[in-house]
């Protein structure tokens, strides 16, 4: 192992679901303590803490965590980057290790979202009888959500999938429902998932419509959860035990991008360009091509989003995502298993935890510790998240081979 390689030494996630008896700090602490134990180190070894929570913990989530898991005086970076918050925390810890400033870093993401309901919709409506006054950057006299398009997440991502259909053809309500059918089928094997229920295609299509073509099971599940990872360098890993070296997972690529200006990107968020850009950089950094991947965990916040990311991550030829999916490639027994965890639609999407939990899933397979859902002989995997605004995190991971 090269001295400047980056390694995940330990990683953990809580079960995703409803944790009514735990607060955000409890969940973050549980994941952090488990990741440290998995790494075989303690807070005394950690030189930096990067902590992410998007909603609810208030200021200084990282410092709140330290008070429960160990106050050692190390710097804390509190990060927020929408649904890419967890990946951003991990990337922050990786950059600190890579710079040589610290020997080990800890990244934590935690969220409580059970019962949060619809995200993204503008709620505040002006009371009747007020005087109309232009407000904000659009000089609007009444709220725009619902009157000029939609701000809701299910509606926004529905349009992302439909736009792909307009560009390349072949999409339908049934096609998107089939993607959801796959992920729910995968979830049955994942005890960490918030929901482990297999649905028939009919059940998915006849469930409550949220924003056509996304019905309820085609939307990511709001739930509680946390995930954490300990990262270190090849130089440090060489000094650790053989067992730690054997279980360590190499971070072959760690990339974070935002969306570059494109026509229409301020009209409908462009989740494509920044993902494609991140993927290109990641494949180059890792020296691998999409065909080398044994599994992919990608950001299926809605069934309509999963389709476009097959293309953005270059798992299929440009414009070929529909045929690629219909070939069965992305089922767990296919040529390119995608979201064998059940994805955000069934595993759940506690926002700040997601960007580390998807890496946990990939690591679990690369360590050959994934039990019933193990992808046989997995050597290389990719984890992708996207947060609107936008931010995209991609990590390519490889087993140590020791």
């Amino acid at each position: 192992m090269a001295s400047d390689d980056i390694w995940i030494l330990g990683i953990a996630m809580t079960k995703f679901g409803k944790h009514s008896d735990k607060d955000i700090v409890d969940l973050g602490s549980e994941a952090a303590i488990a990741a440290l134990a998995d790494a075989g180190v303690t807070m005394a070894d950690i030189g930096i803490l990067a902590a992410g929570n998007l909603m609810g913990a208030g200021a200084g989530f990282g410092q709140q965590l330290q008070k429960q898991i160990g106050q050692t005086g190390i710097p804390v970076y509190n990060v927020a980057n929408a649904c890419a918050t967890g990946a951003t925390a991990l990337r922050t810890a990786i950059m600190a290790v890579k710079s040589g400033e610290v020997r080990m870093g800890l990244a934590v993401g935690a969220e409580k979202l059970s019962g949060a309901g619809l995200l993204g919709g503008g709620g505040t409506s002006k009371k009747d009888g007020n005087k109309f006054e232009p407000r904000g950057r659009f000089g609007s006299v009444l709220p725009t959500d619902g009157r000029i398009g939609t701000d809701t997440m299910p509606g926004t991502f529905a349009q992302v999938g439909m736009e792909y259909g307009h560009k390349y053809g072949g999409v339908s309500f049934e096609l998107f429902a089939k993607i959801s059918e796959k992920n729910h089928a995968h979830s049955v094997l994942n005890p960490m998932a918030a929901y482990q229920k297999r649905f028939t295609l009919d059940e998915i299509m006849n469930d409550m419509m949220i924003a056509y073509p996304n019905t309820r099971p085609m939307c990511s599940a709001n739930c509680d959860g946390a995930a954490a990872a300990v990262v270190t360098s090849g130089e440090v890993l060489r000094t650790l035990s053989k067992e730690q070296q054997r279980r360590a997972i190499k971070v072959s690529a760690s990339v974070l991008t935002t969306d570059p200006y494109e026509e229409a990107c301020q009209i409908l968020p462009d989740v494509n360009t920044l993902t494609r850009n991140a993927a290109k950089i990641a494949y180059e950094q890792a020296g691998v091509s999409p065909s080398d991947l044994d599994l992919v965990e990608l950001h299926d916040c809605f069934a309509t989003a999963e389709l476009v990311h097959y293309d953005n991550l270059m798992l299929c030829p440009e414009g070929g995502a529909v045929d690629f999916f219909m070939s069965g490639a992305t089922w767990r027994d296919g040529s390119m298993p995608v979201n064998v965890s059940g994805g955000l639609e069934s595993k759940g999407h506690p926002i700040a935890a997601t960007g580390i939990a998807n890496i946990w899933e990939v690591c679990h397979h690369l360590r050959n510790e994934a039990g019933d859902r193990q992808i046989k002989d997995a050597k290389v995997g990719l984890a992708h998240v996207i947060g609107l605004g936008s931010a995209c995190g991609i990590h390519i991971l490889e087993r140590s081979g020791l």
Binding site: G123, S125, R137, S140, T152, A211, Q266, L268
Partner: protein, 130 residues
């Protein structure tokens, strides 16, 4: 005569209602909001340009579940108006996938969306089948 005000300041009322964008005089990028600088080329000189009132629907969703107070279902869409993408609702048609289809031709229309305590009427816009 009732006093009117546009829902948003990029909606120009009058005989032929239309949308108006801030176009970067340097690179031509178009924006509908108040600008500090151009997101594409970082220059900060803009001119007002009228946007075509005809377009085609390049994406849509039928929102069945929205924030309280927003009537559902409604069709939210992205309309390609002669090369400029516009966000808006598809109106004056049944909100169903049978009636609303990708690539359908649309045109801008305006309508009242409320009146304030002084009797000023707010005029909103949407896109209807052409």
């Amino acid at each position: 005569m009732t006093k009117t005000i546009p829902h948003v300041d990029y909606l120009e009322l009058g005989d032929k209602p239309h949308l108006v964008a801030n176009e970067c005089t340097s690179c031509g990028a178009r924006f509908f909001d108040r600008r500090n600088a151009c997101a594409k080329c970082f220059k900060n000189d803009f001119k007002k340009v009228a946007i075509s009132t005809d377009g085609i629907l390049k994406s849509f969703t039928i929102v069945a579940f929205a924030a309280p107070g927003i009537p559902v279902p409604f069709v939210a869409g992205i309309i390609d108006c002669a090369g400029t993408s516009v966000r808006g609702n598809v109106v004056n048609t049944e909100p169903s996938p049978e009636k609303v289809t990708l690539g359908m031709k649309l045109r801008l229309t305006t309508f009242s969306i409320g009146t304030d305590e002084e009797g000023t009427e707010a005029i909103g816009f949407g896109f209807e089948p052409a």
